[in-house]
């Protein structure tokens, strides 16, 4: 088995406020394979954004290590592009200027035409052809986020980190952009780690969904495998028999178990290095209703973690 692209080993984040140490999360272990789309779901306050910032290198973990391609990370890198929730475009640059800034950072020795042609490819990819010279202020929220996506993809990163990229958009725009991300990821075989609190979004996009318990002392409760076929769309995914099983499982978790999990997991002695990998989609209906505790599935994919 090959080494996963991203390996997270026992990261934790503590804050010291007035002499008192609070732990947002601790002892997190998980990994992301090449080409995999992983979503992280949890309530606010469990440190989702902090985890993403640690992966991007913008923040450092209080404990633990993050390995990318077998090497420990030490700060931000062009290998890991971030799509910010607030899109974070530079308002004094045009659409193309924003993307060109990233491209020129990635390949400083490229000449103007090469940078421009490369930018154009990604502007076309996110369907912004014709808006190259517009300023961000002239764009709608959805278009701004498209620029953010194009900017992140244009540097051809090893992995894409998204921090609730669609949460500031209206439902219609969000749907369109989700489908485009799905299409682009399928085309480019991009490895993605995304934070969300939208259950449907995670089912549509993710291969694996990491569920986090509530903070403080948040931890990974389980990792849900999305067993829906990869060519799913918003229109037909709810017809698949697995859809409601996965959805119900996720909602159950968010509504009830995320709160009570700490106590129950502590009692059952779950190993934080090996969060249970479960596939609610494959379970029989009776089992879904009767299930008292998550049933771990053989964690083959997690062998590499240990």
């Amino acid at each position: 088995m090959t080494d996963p692209l991203i390996r997270i080993e026992g990261i934790a984040k503590h804050y010291a406020a007035r002499g008192k140490r609070t732990t947002v999360f601790e002892n997190l272990h998980f990994s992301i394979e090449r080409g995999e789309f992983v979503c992280l779901i949890g309530h606010s306050g469990c440190g989702k954004t902090t985890i993403l910032n640690i992966l991007s290198g913008l923040e450092s973990a209080s404990e633990g290590y993050v390995f990318v391609g077998g090497r420990e990370i030490s700060g931000p890198s062009l290998d890991r592009a971030v799509i910010f929730q607030s899109h974070a475009l530079m308002p004094w640059m045009s659409v193309k200027g924003n993307i060109a800034f990233a491209v020129a950072s990635r390949w400083p020795d490229w000449d103007r035409e090469k940078v421009s042609a490369h930018c154009q490819r990604y502007i076309d990819l996110v369907n912004l052809t014709g808006s190259e010279s517009k300023r961000p202020a002239e764009l709608s929220g959805g278009m701004k986020q498209r620029v953010g996506i194009a900017r992140a993809l244009s540097i051809e990163p090893k992995m894409l980190l998204m921090d609730e990229p669609f949460s500031a958009l209206d439902a219609l725009t969000r749907g369109v952009l989700q489908e485009e991300v799905l299409r682009i990821c399928a085309e480019t075989q991009q490895t993605v780690f995304m934070i969300t609190h939208d259950v449907d979004e995670s089912i549509l996009l993710a291969d694996k969904i990491v569920l986090m318990t509530n903070g403080p002392y948040a931890r990974i409760a389980e990792i849900v495998v999305n067993t829906l076929p990869r060519d799913r769309t918003q229109h037909d995914m709810h017809r698949h028999p697995h859809y409601y099983r996965i959805r119900n499982h996720l909602l159950d978790f968010l509504v009830d178990r995320s709160r009570a999990f700490a106590a129950s997991a502590g009692a059952s002695g779950q190993d934080p290095r090996n969060p249970p990998l479960i596939s609610p989609g494959l379970e029989e209906d009776e089992n879904v209703q009767e299930r008292a505790a998550p049933r771990p599935v053989a964690p083959q994919a997690l062998v590499a973690v240990v």
Binding site: L58, L78, A81, V82, S86, P91, S105, A137
Partner: protein
């Protein structure tokens, strides 16, 4: 109605101006009365004094005539005490521009440093706080003593007074650059120089320009006072010289010229500010 709102403000401005001129005219109107003193006395003291009623303040018409004279030949030079008002203004503007540019060359890089580094900010803050409230004219004697040249001293005074608003606004603008833009630069592994010029400078430019606009206003205020002290040339010297000549019309012309040039300087900076401002 639309016409009304378009023409309303200029019409009202004109009305205010006319009212002001009318009051001025009424207040300074020569009140010609039959002579109150004898011919002999009138010969002795001169015609104006003999009628005794003429206000010492010139009428609007007199000021208008003087102003027209100045404007029709602004650049003549007939020796050290008789230069055209345009020439005097050029001297003043040149001093302001030199002092101001020098101040910008110092204040913007230093402000950048202060804004980037909390350590430098804390280290330099006490000096700034003490130096900032000093009236620029208080530096004048020290400048004259050390620089030994009145022209250079005037420029130094402009330099020191333009410095603080630019320095403080630059530091503030740089320190207030949005975290997310810096994060973008970090994730793109942008080098420090490129980050300074491509991210921080454009982001802070509107705030820096506001500081520069405040500075040019202060510099123009101070140059008049400085030139009154230093003497020789400049619009401040012109006004003071005309005070010594007791020529009120010339003083008023000078005052109007100062206001007009100050307005132009401010407009120029406002135009520049608009160029660097970006819509959010």
């Amino acid at each position: 109605m639309k016409n009304m709102s378009y023409w309303g403000a200029p019409l009202l401005s004109t009305a205010v101006l006319l009212a002001f001129l009318a009051i001025w005219h009424a207040a300074t109107r020569p009140d010609v009365r039959p002579e109150v003193v004898g011919d002999e006395y009138a010969k002795l003291v001169g015609g104006a004094a003999a009628t005794g009623q003429k206000s010492t303040l010139p009428t609007p018409a007199e000021v208008g005539r003087t102003l027209w004279q100045h404007l029709s030949d602004p650049f003549y030079d007939k020796g050290p005490n008789d230069k055209g008002i345009g020439l005097q203004l050029l001297y003043s503007i040149a001093r302001v521009v030199i002092g101001y540019v020098l101040a910008a060359l110092v204040a913007i890089p230093v402000g950048f440093l202060i804004g980037m580094s909390p350590l430098v900010y804390r280290a330099l803050d006490p000096f700034i706080q003490v130096l900032k409230p000093i009236s620029p004219l208080a530096w004048m004697p020290l400048a004259l003593f050390t620089l030994k040249d009145s022209a250079v001293s005037a420029i130094f005074v402009i330099f020191i007074c333009s410095m603080w608003p630019m320095l403080i606004n630059t530091a503030f603008g740089v320190a207030a650059v949005r975290r997310e833009w810096l994060n973008v630069a970090r994730t793109l592994e942008v080098g420090p120089l490129r980050k300074a010029f491509r991210v921080i400078l454009p982001a802070a430019a509107p705030t820096i320009m506001t500081g520069m606009r405040i500075s040019i206003g202060i510099a123009w205020l101070v140059i008049v006072a400085a030139e009154m002290l230093v003497g020789g040339t400049g619009i401040g010297y012109f006004v003071w010289n005309e005070w010594n000549n007791l020529s009120i019309s010339n003083i008023i012309s000078g005052i109007l010229a100062i206001g007009f040039v100050g307005m132009l300087l401010d407009l120029a900076l406002a135009r520049l500010t608009r160029v660097v401002t970006f819509p959010e």
